[in-house]
């Protein structure tokens, strides 16, 4: 953004947001390379602009309720490890806004996105400007080791959001990459459960070939999409519940060299999966209604 555009964003923020939220946006910390961007291309003003738009969905559409904020470290590196669901990856956006609003000082959640997203014009740009990065190992090193950021990683990957209505709230097997990163960079893991995302866009089927032609892993079929065109992509207003679990400090028990032991890494990944599945089950029991 140009300096004039940035000023316009902050004027908009002051006009449209409550004082507390505007203050939080202005106080966000990141490693500025000198022009108001970090090396990944994150820009505070782009985040603020996205927040102005997405705040409506967080507060009034999904009416997100979060629990266990005390489990998220106030500073330093941390891996947030949630389940991934909902056909359209809105769950990350809700977690990012939730952490921004409830953790002091406000932290930018750095989402790890799939490789294909980087190739998409505009979408790739929005991803980088608002704080997410492509899931390359070197990117983890920079985020965790050098910058000490809050990284949100979905170990289910795109399998999670594409698993279909029949398998809702049943986790697909976690990839092990996040355990390797946690051990290598001595980072605590916060297991996280997201309830409500599965119902936002129940997936009936998916068209893999058509999706690949568009540069996507698949094209989802939901009750509203493609029936109502682009409008059909608007998710249903299910209520979101986000639970942050007790941090897991595997790095205290195992040395970084433990990542060379594939059995151990697999075992730890399965252990985290079990914890997240338990949190989901408890959350589902506690939930009284999908929409209210």
């Amino acid at each position: 953004m140009t300096p004039q555009q940035r000023e316009a964003v902050w004027r908009l923020v002051d006009r449209l947001l409550p004082k507390e939220e505007a203050k939080r946006l202005k106080n966000m910390n990141f490693v500025d390379e000198g022009f108001g961007y970090d090396v990944f291309g994150f820009e505070k003003e782009s985040f603020a602009l996205a927040y102005l738009f997405l705040r409506f969905f967080y507060k009034y559409w999904f009416r997100v309720r979060g629990y266990g904020y005390e489990n998220v470290p106030r500073k330093g590196k941390v891996l947030i490890v949630p389940n991934h669901s909902g056909t359209i990856p809105v769950d990350f956006i809700m977690i990012a806004i939730d952490l921004f609003l409830h953790v002091n000082p406000p932290r930018v959640a750095r989402g790890i996105v799939d490789h294909f997203a980087g190739a998409l014009p505009y979408i790739g740009l929005i991803i980088y400007r608002t704080g997410s990065v492509i899931g390359a190992r070197k990117n983890f090193e920079v985020l965790l080791q050098r910058h000490g950021e809050t990284v949100v990683v979905f170990p289910e990957g795109t399998r999670g959001i594409g698993k279909g209505w029949a398998n809702r709230y049943k986790l697909t097997r976690f990839n092990v990459g996040f355990i390797e990163m946690a051990l290598k960079y001595r980072t605590p893991i916060v297991p996280t459960a997201v309830i409500g995302a599965e119902e936002q866009a129940p997936q009936i089927a998916k068209l893999t070939t058509v999706g690949k032609l568009l540069g996507l892993p698949y094209l989802p079929i939901t009750p509203t999409f493609p029936l109502f065109g682009v409008l059909g992509l608007i998710p249903l207003p299910s209520r979101y519940y986000i639970y942050y679990g007790t941090p897991l400090h595997y790095y205290k028990a195992y040395k970084p060299s433990a990542i060379k032991d594939p059995v151990l890494v697999r075992q730890l990944a399965d252990e985290v999966q079990g914890i997240v599945q338990d949190m989901i089950n408890k959350g589902l029991k506690r939930r009284k209604s999908v929409f209210f």
């Binding site: 961007y37 492509i134 070197k138 920079v142």
Partner: protein
């Protein structure tokens, strides 16, 4: 003659304490390039450098006339030609100068050369020079100026590329990229020899007056055609920092590959804004033919195929190794406008 001697720039007196064995006598190839000229000047005033031999294919330029022949000698030679290279290494000037360091800057990027000619100069020239340097046994350091374009850039490439990142070995890559990769790999393949320390410095986009880096020429265009929907992060390095990095590589007892980045890191269009360029977005499949056409009719010397991926995807140099081992830090800011 007396008048000429009077006008000559005198180098600083040597500081006591610099041992004769520590003094570097340097041969610079491609000395008439902007970086070569700046480097020659920097070494001329460096008390740790003794004799300097500047080699290039051009006639001796006026700006070297002021240098004292006791410190600086200009030799016109084409290092590509085996005979000329041999003559250079057997010459009295070379022997008397006790050259122990070679900085290889000669690398053509101009589109006035055909890909075959460029390959001969860039790759064969580098190989011949390198082998000749090892043969002498007296040359202890060889510094090669490479570039970040040797890396393979994909949408999922990490944002920061370290020295171990994947090289662009794509058989369909542009010949200019292949030349860079081949020359870089020749240097790497000879790095294990015990006689000579080989240092490869991979620089990010060098910006400065009369520098023939692709991005430098890109910024000279008004307006600039950019790929629609992309705005990657770009690192720019000031020519002075390039010279400083080479100087550090010459003086430090090191060998290996180092990425060298500059102080400025921002999205491409931010630099265009500060440079008062107007970006004109076009769908990226159209950029190749459009740039090819405007290049052919002479509206720009910018050669798009070399940087087509860099204009879409972020690939920044991770120069932490250079910082740790060479003690390198970029100090100079690029001036725009």
């Amino acid at each position: 003659m007396a008048e000429k001697k009077k006008n000559q720039v005198r180098p600083k007196k040597k500081i006591r304490g610099v041992r004769a064995s520590q003094v570097k006598n340097v041969l610079i190839t491609g000395v008439t390039s902007t970086i070569g000229r700046m480097l020659a000047e920097q070494f001329y005033f460096d008390e740790r450098v003794g004799k300097i031999i500047g080699v290039a294919i051009d006639p001796k330029p006026y700006y070297f006339e002021d240098y004292s022949p006791e410190r600086f000698v200009y030799i016109r030679a084409n290092i590509l030609k085996y005979r000329e290279l041999n003559n250079l290494f057997l010459s009295e000037v070379f022997k008397n100068s006790k050259i122990n360091t070679v900085v290889h800057l000669a690398f053509v990027t101009s589109t006035r050369f055909t890909p075959e000619e460029a390959y001969n100069i860039n790759v064969e020239g580098t190989r011949n020079l390198l082998l000749r340097c090892i043969e002498t046994g007296t040359i202890k350091k060889f510094v090669f100026k490479s570039s970040m374009i040797v890396y393979k850039i994909r949408p999922h490439t990490p944002v920061l590329l370290d020295e171990e990142a994947e090289l662009n070995l794509d058989p369909n890559a542009d010949p200019w990229i292949k030349n860079r990769v081949d020359a870089d790999m020749i240097c790497r393949s000879m790095m294990d020899n015990p006689k000579m320390d080989i240092v490869v410095l991979r620089f990010s986009n060098i910006i400065g007056r009369n520098i023939t880096s692709e991005l430098n020429e890109f910024f000279d265009m008004k307006p600039c055609l950019v790929p629609m929907g992309y705005n990657p992060m770009v690192n720019l390095i000031h020519a002075k920092d390039v010279v400083n990095a080479i100087q550090l590589a010459v003086h430090k007892k090191v060998r290996g590959v180092f990425n060298i980045g500059g102080r400025e890191t921002a999205p491409l269009r931010t630099f265009l804004y500060y440079n008062k360029n107007t970006p004109v977005p076009l769908p990226h499949p159209l950029l190749g033919p459009v740039y090819g056409f405007i290049n052919k009719i002479g509206l720009t010397s910018y050669y798009y195929p070399v940087e087509k991926d860099l204009l879409r995807f972020t690939a920044l140099p991770d120069w932490s190794k250079a910082q740790k081992v060479l003690g390198y830090r970029p100090y100079n800011r690029v001036r725009f406008g």
